[in-house]
Each structure stands twice: as structure tokens, then as C-alpha cells.
């Protein structure tokens, strides 16, 4: 028995696949889902989501959003749905762009500290980069 993982962004379903375990970070802390987990809805914080499969791991950069574990369907499998405005698979991330975005955000924070937009841009870039590192 395995988990059915779906990564849904507003524009499309970005990824579907099977997994042994899904590890993600909600606003209150890390949580891992195994098959048969009870129904669960959590608010994700900006952090990579790790989807462990039989033959490796898929890492997804998630910038806020929700994780929903639905009750097992008719086939008896537990579904994990990740809803996120911005969700990128680690291997589709443009590392160079993320690096330059990070540098730019840091620069903006240095000149004008407390700029919330620059702060979240920095956070996003960091998540992208850490997702690439973790993959």
C-alpha cells in the first residue's frame, strides 16, 4: 500500500505520483505522512516538501499553501494533496535565477530593512535553493 501524492497549483496539476512517505513542514512543525494516516489538513510554511519513493526522493519547493490528507478512497489508498500558489519540482528550478533573486532580495533588505516583499522574495529564493540542495 502506498500514498498517492498530488501537487496542485492554481494553473495545473503539477505532479502526481506514488510515495512511501511525505515529509513537510506546517506552521507548527514538521510532519510526515505514511499510508493510512488519518485525515489531516495543515497550513504549510515556506519549506521544501520531500516525497520519498521506492527509488529515491522528489523534492518540491512550496511557498505556502495547504496539505490535505484525504481519507482512503475506494482503492484503499491514502491521498496526499498539496495545494500551493507556487510549487516547483526541484529539478525544474532554475538555480541561477534563484541565486540572483536571492542576491537581489538581500541587497534590497540591506538598503531598506523591513521590506516585506523583499523578505518573502528572499525566503522563496532560499526555499528554491534548499530544495535543489536536498534533491
Amino acid at each position: 500500500m502506498s500514498l498517492l501524492v498530488e501537487l496542485v497549483s492554481p494553473e495545473r496539476v503539477a505532479y502526481t505520483g506514488e510515495a512511501k512517505m511525505v515529509i513537510c513542514r506546517t506552521t507548527t512543525g514538521d510532519i510526515a505522512f505514511l499510508p493510512g494516516h488519518i485525515p489531516f489538513i495543515g497550513v504549510l510554511s515556506t519549506h521544501p516538501v520531500r516525497v520519498q519513493q521506492d527509488d529515491g526522493e522528489v523534492v518540491i519547493a512550496v511557498h505556502q499553501g495547504f496539505v490535505e490528507v484525504s481519507p482512503p478512497g475506494e482503492d484503499g489508498r491514502t491521498r496526499v494533496t498539496i495545494l500551493s500558489d507556487v510549487a516547483e519540482l526541484a529539478d525544474t528550478i532554475d538555480v541561477e535565477r534563484a541565486r540572483s533573486a536571492k542576491a537581489e532580495a538581500e541587497e534590497r533588505l540591506r538598503t531598506g530593512p523591513g521590506d516585506p516583499e523583499a523578505f518573502s522574495a528572499l525566503r522563496r529564493a532560499e526555499v528554491r535553493l534548499s530544495a535543489v540542495d536536498a534533491a
Partner: protein
């Protein structure tokens, strides 16, 4: 040498032909884009469905909070009208339909003595209201054919701030064109904010909700961060539908224009041929007339075509002396 009138007609046919090429190209472009736009609308559906599903789950668990986006005003004194138009014209009545409907809504609000905020999306709707001196609170443009989620999020943020601001709008309506099928789209006016209560949203979804969910950090907190997403996703799907409608309308308008151009070409070509034939006939008449005059000058009996024109061209008996079609004389059976 073609005559003056023929030249004019030839030039007009050329210009209509060029226009036809352009409208035909636009028709084909719109046709491919409308398929893509529909596809995007379909791809966006899972997200909207999941968000609604989560709200249903929340509702089933009995979480119903007092969120600003859910608060119903006891008395409406200010309404917000969001118009979803296109950036470009040449889409038949698409823009004017949606603009007219929005204008009616504004008139109705005025008639009730309410003040209003107008948010325009698309260059065309902005131009219309600006020209007529309507106060525009906010306008967005440059993405009507291919809306991105970021654009939807921007608009949603602005609209939410209009709604939640002190002395802001008590009700916000969305005027857009719903895409029913390739052949039919209709302008609809939808209440956008305040949202219905959580349980009402839940009732409208078709999936069954199951109680017994665990929430982290808490049902209320989840709902708190979920509702703005829900607003964004609703706005995004409206934008996608409007884009598909715009393209379908443009395809139809351009098809009509192409057909009209073709019809005009046929008509003008007929006219041109007629004019040319007239000119040729006149020219022949002139030549004959000139030759006749010359012949008369020489004082010889007219051995020319013209002298035979009023006589029977196919005489039954003697064909001698006639130059016109002597071989075609019908042989007498006797």
C-alpha cells in the same frame, strides 16, 4: 489599357483581399488560442475543487469563524463593480456587452443612492469608463488573453483591500463573460464579496465531506489562510473564462469579417468585369464608327461589318456578298 473605373475597382479588390488575409489570420490565431484557453481553464479546475473540498471538510468539522471576508454588511452603502473586459477590440460585441452590463449595474447603484468603486480589467473597459468620466478606483491590463495566477492574486488583493478597508465597499460584484461553449457565451453578474458562509460554500460543492479531520494549527487558522486563496482562485477562474470567451468572440467576429470580405470581392469582381466589358464594347464601337466614317469618306459602299448589322446575319438563300460568318449559314434542307 484598363479604364479609370476599372482601375479603381481593381485597387479596391486588392485592398479587400489584403483585409481578408488579415482577418483570416486573426481568425486562425484566435481559434488555436481559444483551445488553449479552454485547456487552461480545465487545468485550473483541480485547484479550485480542492480548495472548495477543504472548505467543505472544515465546514463538516463545525468550524465557522467570523472572518472579515464572510461578514455581511447590515446596510450596503457602497458597492464595488469589477469589470472583466479585453485589452484589444476586434472581438465583436464582447467588450461592449460586458461594459454595458457593468454600466447598468453602476446606474442601478446610483439610482439607489449608493456610492461605488469601479475596478476595470482590460484596456478597453478602462478606456470606455475613463472617456465617460467615471471615477476608476483601480485598473489592471495587459493579460486579458492569457491571465496568469499572479495577475489574479494582484487583483484579488486589491479587491479584498477595497472590501475590508474602513468605509470601503460592503458588496463587490464581478461582471464577466461566462464561457458556456464555443458557440455561446453570456455576460453574468456575480456576487463576489462577501463570501457566502462556509456552510453555503460547502453545500455548493458536489463532493461529500467527511468529518474527523485533524487540523493544524486549528480549524479557524486554516480557514483564515484559506479564504483569501479561495477568493484568488475564484477570480482566476473568472479571468480564464473571460479569456476563453474573448477569444471565441474574436474568432467568430473575424470569421464573419472574412466571409464579408469574400462576398465583397465577388461583388466587386463582377462589377469590374462588367465595367471592363462595357469599355471593350465602347472601344469596338468607336473603332467601327471610325472605320465607317473613313469608308464613307472614300464614298464606297460599306463593305464593313456595321453595314450588315441591321440585316439578317444568317440569310436563308444567298450568302454571297456577306462577310459575316458565311460558313455558319444554315444549310437549307431543300
Amino acid at each position: 489599357m484598363p479604364g479609370a473605373q476599372e482601375r479603381v475597382l481593381r485597387r479596391r479588390i486588392g485592398s479587400v483581399q489584403n483585409t481578408k488575409k488579415i482577418t483570416r489570420a486573426m481568425e486562425l490565431i484566435a481559434a488555436t488560442r481559444v483551445v488553449k484557453a479552454q485547456q487552461r481553464a480545465n487545468e485550473a479546475r483541480p485547484y479550485a475543487e480542492h480548495i472548495t473540498q477543504v472548505i467543505e471538510d472544515l465546514s463538516a468539522s463545525g468550524a465557522d469563524v467570523d472572518h472579515p471576508l464572510l461578514r455581511q454588511a447590515e446596510q450596503v452603502s457602497r458597492v464595488g463593480v469589477v469589470v472583466l473586459g479585453a485589452d484589444r477590440g476586434l472581438a465583436g460585441a464582447y467588450n461592449s456587452n460586458v461594459i454595458k452590463t457593468a454600466e447598468r449595474e453602476i446606474m442601478a447603484a446610483r439610482a439607489e443612492g449608493l456610492s461605488y468603486d469601479l475596478v476595470t480589467i482590460g484596456r478597453k473597459s478602462k478606456a470606455y469608463f475613463q472617456f465617460r468620466n467615471y471615477p476608476i478606483t483601480a485598473s489592471f491590463e495587459g493579460f486579458s488573453e492569457k491571465p496568469t495566477f499572479e495577475a489574479a492574486a494582484d487583483i484579488a488583493a486589491r479587491v479584498i483591500s477595497l472590501f475590508t478597508a474602513e468605509g470601503g465597499c460592503d458588496r463587490i460584484i464581478l461582471v464577466y463573460t461566462r464561457f458556456i461553449s464555443m458557440g455561446s457565451q453570456e455576460v453574468v453578474v456575480r456576487r463576489f464579496l462577501p463570501l457566502q458562509t462556509v456552510s453555503r460554500i460547502a453545500e455548493e460543492g458536489d463532493a461529500k465531506a467527511v468529518a474527523g479531520f485533524e487540523f493544524e494549527p486549528s480549524p479557524a487558522a486554516v480557514l483564515e489562510s484559506l479564504l483569501p486563496r479561495y477568493v484568488e482562485s475564484r477570480l482566476f477562474s473568472a479571468l480564464l473564462e473571460a479569456a476563453a470567451s474573448e477569444l471565441a468572440n474574436r474568432q467568430r467576429a473575424m470569421k464573419a469579417a472574412t466571409d464579408n470580405a469574400q462576398e465583397l470581392i465577388v461583388k466587386l469582381t463582377r462589377k469590374m468585369n462588367q465595367v471592363r466589358q462595357d469599355a471593350i464594347t465602347t472601344e469596338i464601337m468607336e473603332i467601327i464608327g471610325g472605320a465607317e466614317a473613313l469608308a464613307e469618306d472614300r464614298d464606297e459602299p460599306g463593305d464593313l461589318i456595321l453595314s450588315h448589322l441591321d440585316s439578317d446575319p444568317f440569310p436563308r438563300h444567298s450568302g454571297s456578298g456577306h462577310h459575316t460568318a458565311p460558313d455558319r449559314t444554315i444549310p437549307d434542307p431543300d
